[in-house]
């Protein structure tokens, strides 16, 4: 079985994150970049299946040159090979572009199953797995807290806002996992030395036969028009309770028609 794991590098969440007011893109210059924890968990799901059955695990990312470090990290954890889609034309790509490029790369590699995180810590959109599934015309089983992979079928439990579902689909399919899925293994030094010898391929858009103008020209795009730092909320009324504050609060709520 051939499993492709989608991984992503995100800014380390120490301190505050920032947007470039000129482009609206995430200002990636501020903190260090690390592999997203949810990517680690997705890889863990694939590696456990590999441990049991010997499946082939390929990690795939789309991102700047520095994202190669994240791929090496995944190889050190135990992935067999890595694919890096790297192209200047992809700077600032939105979910529409990202999903079609990822789908093209997945098709390029061939797959039985794709595993991704349910949402990244920086974008938090949570739509990429479903969009890639639509491009590939395969089912998506997303937000799974538990995943069971068999020869030609995958099933799991899915957490939604309204409860828990058990879901199943025949392969090929796309799965996304949540924070509830098991912790990733700790990469080892031996694994790291082995990783240095594993293949890491870099693909450009032309390798994937994508011409940004013709491929994306006819689809809708969401373009950021303004980015404003929300004015810090200013403190309003602040009173110290001298015995009547509870009533004053009720009056405040009544005046605001919240009652």
């Amino acid at each position: 079985m051939k499993i492709i794991v989608l991984v992503k590098q995100v800014p380390d969440t120490w301190g505050e994150r920032s947007l470039d007011s000129a482009t609206g893109a995430l200002d990636r210059s501020a903190p260090d970049n690390i592999i997203d924890e949810i990517s680690d968990r997705s890889l863990e799901v694939a590696l456990r299946h590999k441990d049991e059955t010997g499946a082939e695990v390929i990690v795939l990312t789309m991102g700047p040159a520095s994202a190669a470090v994240a791929l090496r990290h995944c190889l050190a954890m135990g992935a067999d090979s890595a694919v890096h889609v790297l192209d200047d034309a992809l700077a600032g790509a939105d979910v529409t572009w990202t999903s079609s490029v990822l789908a093209a790369a997945i098709t390029h590699e061939g797959f039985d199953m794709v595993i991704a995180g349910n949402e990244s810590t920086d974008g938090r959109g949570g739509v990429i797995p479903a969009m890639v599934a639509e491009h590939l015309s395969v089912p998506h089983l997303t937000s799974l807290s538990e995943v069971h992979i068999a020869v030609d079928v995958v099933n799991g439990s899915r957490e939604t806002d309204y409860g828990t579902l058990t879901v199943t689909a025949r392969l090929p399919a796309i799965v996304s996992v949540t924070e509830q899925s098991p912790d990733a293994r700790f990469p080892s030094f031996k694994g790291l030395l082995k990783a240095k010898k594993k293949p890491l391929a870099t693909l450009s858009l032309s390798d994937l036969s994508i011409n940004p103008e013709t491929s994306f020209g006819s689809t809708g795009r969401s373009t950021i028009t303004t980015v404003t730092r929300r004015p810090a909320r200013t403190a309003g009324i602040k009173i110290v309770d001298s015995g009547n504050a509870g009533v004053e609060l009720a009056e405040f709520l009544a005046a605001g028609r919240f009652v």
Binding site: V127, L141, T142, L165, T166, R221, F258
Partner: protein, 324 residues
């Protein structure tokens, strides 16, 4: 005028979920509002009337016996069918939930639309849909416009709250064929317990939250009492969840639920940045805390330095008096 499609959510027991009001109000701003219902075959006259009361001009019902057993795809197919039926749809609005986002994502790919996720406001500017998002815990506002294709937008629950005029809607009913679609099958379903009778945290217009300052699991009752007096949802800070006062599913904050209510009341919550990230887009914020230096006071419209156990019972009593 072009149409704006909304995906109406229906609970497994057949009731229209609360998000319908927000979606139809938002759609009214963009064009002629259409309610799209993906459901199993049956009598939907009650739904149609209800959606008309919420402002729908057209109700588009896509029926299939498999609707309940397939994941997300029936809704995608229903919206796609409605999209080709109403040739001039400018926008498709879906609730921002796990499932809503995925439906929107697949649909955007299907119809070549541009996608905006988790918008907190939308408007029409020069015939173009402009969506506003609040990112990084409310620190930034981002406005984006969608061009080159239809706009597919997921809206944060509770973010738009306005009354629209009721209509007697047209009804279009079609039958979907789902036999060959690529979809996962739902084999069983456990509904999240909603026995509290309180509104869902995510979409509630008012939220009352308690923090570490509440002191114990038993005393959390006070938070619930104020919530019930206001018809509000109950929330909690991470500290209160970690201390075991209340279940994790009610945690408000960066790692819990992000809420955007009209009114947010924080009781015994100091205001860690992670908590603020989950609620600071609330329209009005009220806090009661013993510590006069609690950071939350920098964000409140009305702050009370005091003991919640003396202040809140007084408030509840006064609220009852106002009612009568």
């Amino acid at each position: 005028m072009s149409t704006a499609l909304t995906l109406i959510e229906v609970s497994p027991s057949g009731e229209i979920r609360g998000s319908a009001k927000m979606l139809l109000a938002a759609a009214t701003r963009l064009g002629t509002p259409v309610a799209v219902l993906s459901t199993t075959p049956g009598d939907h006259s009650e739904h149609v009337k209800q959606l008309g009361d919420l402002g729908a001009h057209h109700v588009f019902i896509a029926e299939s016996t498999q609707t309940d057993s397939l994941l997300a795809t029936p809704a995608v197919e229903s919206l796609a069918a409605a999209f080709s039926h109403f040739e001039t749809s400018a926008a498709v609005l879906v609730t921002n939930s796990v499932e809503g986002r995925e439906i929107a994502g697949r649909l955007a790919v299907r119809i070549g639309g541009g996608l905006t996720i988790d918008a907190i406001d939308i408007t029409l500017v020069n015939d173009r849909v402009v969506a506003r998002n609040s990112v990084f815990g409310g620190a930034f506002d981002v406005e984006s416009s969608i061009h080159g294709g239809p706009a597919v937008i997921t809206l944060r629950q509770g973010s738009i709250d306005e009354e629209v005029t009721a209509h007697t809607p047209d009804l279009i009913t079609i039958t979907l064929s789902l036999t060959s679609v690529a979809a996962a099958t739902i084999t069983s379903r456990t509904e999240a317990p909603t026995d509290s009778g309180r509104p869902d945290l995510r979409g509630a217009a008012t939220v009352v939250s308690g923090g570490r300052g509440v002191g114990s699991k038993e005393d959390f009752l006070l938070v619930e009492q104020l919530a019930d007096a206001l018809g509000a949802a109950v929330g909690a800070s991470r500290a209160a969840v970690d201390a075991g006062y209340i279940t994790h599913s009610l945690q408000v904050g960066q790692t819990g639920t992000i809420v955007s209510p009209q009114l947010y009341i924080a009781l015994g919550i100091s205001g860690a940045i992670q908590h603020l990230a989950g609620m600071q887009t609330a329209k009005v914020i009220v806090a009661v805390n013993k510590d006069p230096d609690a950071p939350i006071f920098d964000f409140t419209d009305f702050g009370i330095v005091g003991d919640i156990f003396t202040v809140i019972p007084q408030t509840i009593e006064a609220l009852h008096r106002f009612r009568h």
